[in-house]
């Protein structure tokens, strides 16, 4: 490739002051020895882009993460997810990581559309999904996915049937209702302003009556349509014998519309059509934003999950290997697990011997040796040679079945948490309706007013107390808080999570993968030269230790001609002989690994020289000690609950400064510890990532997982944080506490508004103008107050 020659001929950059040299394709920082590209993959990708005449991509892209576009040689297996339509066409949906800017979408779409068989290639930047439709064989899907991978986009197949949760449908319904109510609100308000100014001026009764009739014509159908989401929810609540915020809303809106119609029919002065539709409009705006914010968080979480989903390779009885979706694997199927791969199913080893890293399953940090007959749990990583597993039937005592049973029990045991807004609504609705009834009695019985006047005043009370500000008070804070958390890479999955998180007084932490990074990190290296050589070999392999080596020396370029020897290591043919990187035996080192040392090792043997050792350990997250101190500063008690050996737990706890710790816990033990704490009245935040943490996450008052966690843990957790910083936990707590404070303030504001407005209504002084001004201003005050949360830090 000519780009290679050009790259080598160029002088090494870095002499220019200020600008750090960066890779021309993926924008990662370059090492001193590199000219334009950080690796062969990037060079090839840039060549590919230039070859297609799409080099404008580099000038067009705007903001993107450096290094995110580092290409892979081949994509995940996507073939099992292609959907042929039987008429010669096939479709595939992919999640695409790195699809962050318009230029990326342009590059992806254009590169794929070059294929004559491609009928549709459309990238969605909001959901980072790519829809492909082409004519021809289903098998070509893999070709397209590989093309994307070689451009540097990580792709994962995606099953649209699994994600069809109605979110899009509900969003569209609310948006339609919002549009209709917005249209009606604007038009009716225009007419109402004329009526109000007519009261002061010279408008005749005929004109006013006509304007009221036009308002009714617009408002009544709009209310009937846009009010459906509220009416439905209110009816459901009443049918279940409860009340929620939607009950007073529905009653208020219906009453306002009915009373205004009655007034119009009798040609009177005041009609409340504008109040009814503006109220609906404001509430729908709040609902829509709330639903969208939560949908976004859930989509982002789904995205992370689907990137982890891999096709499973099943060995058929006749020896052929077929790839299937994980869901399509049945009990008794023999599954192939290559070196460095994650075990996809619970099973029994049928052939091969290896060592499995089970840290995500049990918390144990040292790998476990397995031989035929031994059990292997889904989620473990195969550190040795390839093995074959016979899939166990569900319910045949698999670990997952056991965990699922524990989680179910934990969720049943946890009292149903009632959201703040619902608790307020339970009190609010009866009080308001009693106030309406009392108003009627006051006017009809005590003041001896005519029945219709007493009814009007009672209705005015119900309209003015229709909880617009109250219904917005909490959701608006939720929306702003979840957007703020999302900016920091923290996804909120459950609606009440924020309120529960604000109430915690204790944090229980898992060790492996939560306090620590959950993957091996290079901790001892013989020297820079050896590291560079080893890392250049390690780039050829996907073994966890190789990945750790490559990460430790980002400047290393892939060495040509590296061969992988499964279960032993990597070999590189050089002029002096074979360079080997692998385990002790492979590198000719005598003896056994020192027992008790909490380290994994790799050896590098070069011809004629003594073999040297690289040590790896599951290191603490960089900011672990800092994050723990931050949690303690917030007055939270800390406890470390781990499934790892007590000695290791002891060491880690001492390093980050946690006094209360327990090691060697089984999943059920963690759950029991949390239940004991809850019984003593403690509200515990559980932070964990392993499969063994899932029951504890489900049982805790609130829970948080890193995005690197096992699927089941991520699903159980209320919050998922992305990135390597454990400080996200303290930040989430800060935002939750600030949100609780703001929600409280908002409720007080809404209540204060009602205290002012209700006496006016009872006295019969509420005109449509007063109602419109009071309702709109109280809603705006509440929204403005909530927006304070999005402005930087609000303090702990």
């Amino acid at each position: 490739m000519s780009a290679t020659a050009a790259a080598i001929a160029m002088p090494a950059p870095g002499t220019a002051a200020g600008a750090e040299p960066r890779c021309a394709h993926c924008d990662a920082p370059l090492a001193a020895a590199q000219a334009r590209f950080c690796c062969h993959g990037c060079e090839a990708a840039a060549g590919l882009v230039a070859g297609m005449g799409l080099a404008a991509f580099y000038a067009r892209r705007l903001a993107f993460a450096p290094g995110a576009l580092r290409p892979a040689s081949a994509a995940e297996d996507v073939e099992a997810f292609v959907r042929p339509d039987g008429a010669g066409r096939a479709a595939l949906e992919l999640h695409v990581e790195g699809l962050d800017c318009g230029a990326c979408a342009w590059l992806v779409e254009t590169a794929l559309a070059r294929d004559p068989a491609m009928r549709r290639a459309r990238a969605n930047l909001s959901t980072r999904r790519l829809v492909l439709e082409w004519e021809g064989e289903a098998a070509r899907g893999q070709e397209f996915a590989d093309l994307l991978a070689s451009l540097g986009f990580r792709v994962a197949p995606f099953d649209p049937a699994l994600a069809g949760d109605g979110q899009a449908r509900r969003e569209a319904e609310l948006l339609r209702a919002m549009a209709v109510s917005g249209f009606a609100a604007a038009n009716v308000m225009l007419l109402s302003v004329s009526v109000w100014s007519g009261h002061a001026g010279s408008m005749g009764p005929a004109t006013r009556e006509m304007l009221h009739w036009v308002s009714a014509l617009i408002a009544l159908p709009a209310i009937a349509f846009a009010g459906i989401p509220f009416f439905r929810s209110a009816a459901r609540a009443l049918a279940a014998g409860r009340t929620n915020m939607d009950v007073p809303i529905s009653i208020g809106v219906t009453l306002a519309a009915g009373m205004s119609l009655w007034e119009t029919l009798h040609g009177r002065d005041h009609a409340f059509f504008d109040s009814a539709v503006t109220l609906l409009f404001f509430l729908l705006v709040g609902r829509y934003l709330d639903l969208r914010a939560r949908g976004r968080a859930r989509r982002a979480a789904q995205h992370v999950v689907s990137l982890a989903a891999r096709a499973v390779r099943v060995v058929l009885p006749d020896g052929r290997v077929e790839t299937r979706r994980p869901q399509a694997v049945q009990a008794g199927d023999v599954v192939l697990v290559a070196s460095g791969e994650r075990v996809p199913v619970d099973g029994v080893v049928a052939r091969g011997e290896t060592r499995l890293d089970q840290s995500i399953v049990t918390g144990e940090s040292m790998p476990v040796a397995v031989a035929p007959g031994a059990g292997a749990f889904a989620g473990s990583v195969n550190l040795g040679p390839a093995i074959e597993l016979r899939t166990r039937a569900a319910g045949e005592g698999t670990l997952l079945a056991e965990i699922a049973r524990l989680m179910e029990a934990a969720e049943r045991g946890q009292g149903r948490f009632v959201a703040l807004a619902d608790r307020v609504a339970r009190l609010y609705a009866p009080v308001v309706h009693v106030a309406g009834a009392l108003t009627f009695l006051l006017w009809f019985v005590v003041l001896d007013a005519p029945a219709h006047q007493a009814l009007l005043n009672a209705a005015a009370v119900l309209i003015i107390t229709c909880p617009c500000a109250l219904a917005l008070a909490v959701p608006v804070v939720q929306v702003v808080a979840s957007a703020r958390l999302m900016r920091s890479g923290i996804l909120m999955k459950s609606a009440t999570a924020l309120e529960r998180l604000a109430a915690i007084d204790m944090v229980a932490l898992d060790k492996t993968g939560t306090l620590t990074q959950g993957r091996p990190v290079l901790v001892s290296s013989p020297g820079a030269e050896e590291l560079l050589l080893a890392a250049s070999m390690a780039q050829a392999s996907r073994h966890p230790l190789s990945i750790a080596l490559a990460a430790a020396a980002p400047g290393a370029r892939l060495a040509e001609g590296v061969a992988e020897r499964p279960g032993e290591g990597l070999a590189l043919a050089s002029a002096e002989g074979e360079v080997r990187l692998g385990n002790r035996a492979f590198c000719g080192v005598a003896g056994e690994p020192v027992a008790g040392v909490d380290e994994l090792e790799l050896w590098l043997a070069r011809p004629g020289r003594k073999a040297v050792r690289f040590g790896f350990r599951d290191e603490l997250r960089e900011d672990a000690a800092e994050a723990i101190a931050a949690l303690r500063d917030r007055g939270l008690e800390l406890v470390l609950l781990s499934g790892d050996r007590p000695a290791v737990v002891e060491m880690v706890a001492a390093r980050v400064g946690i006094a209360a710790r327990e090691g060697g816990l089984r999943p059920g033990d963690k759950l029991r510890r949390l239940e004991e704490l809850a019984a003593r009245g403690r509200r515990v935040l559980m932070a964990g990532d392993g499969i063994n943490d899932a029951p504890a996450l489900a049982a805790a008052h609130a829970s948080i997982s890193p995005s690197s966690a096992a699927d089941i843990a991520r699903n159980a957790a209320d919050f998922v944080f992305q990135g390597a910083r454990l400080g996200a936990v303290a930040e989430a707590i800060d935002v939750a506490r600030a949100a609780r404070r703001l929600a409280g303030q908002n409720l007080l504001l809404a209540l204060a508004y009602n205290l002012l407005a209700v006496p006016l209504a009872v006295a019969g002084h509420v005109t449509p103008l007063v109602a419109a001004v009071a309702m709109s201003s109280s809603s705006l005050v509440v929204i403005a107050n909530a927006l304070r949360l999005s402005r930087g830090r609000t303090g702990p």
Partner: protein
């Protein structure tokens, strides 16, 4: 007063047209990818279509 009989229906009709346009846009999927639409507008239209269909990547 008589002018109102013409102007009010006219104003409402115009408003309805806007509402209908919005509902049509919603139905035709124009709100499915708001982030994408915001970014695509910055790209030159001519470049977003393949110039040489039939060439394999």
């Amino acid at each position: 007063m008589n002018s109102l009989l013409l102007l009010i229906p006219l104003a409402i009709l115009l408003g309805m047209l806007g509402l209908a346009a919005f509902l049509w846009a919603l139905r035709s999927g124009q709100f499915d990818d708001l982030d994408g639409a915001a970014q695509r507008v910055l790209l030159d239209e001519e470049g977003t279509r393949p110039k040489t269909p039939g060439r394999k990547p």
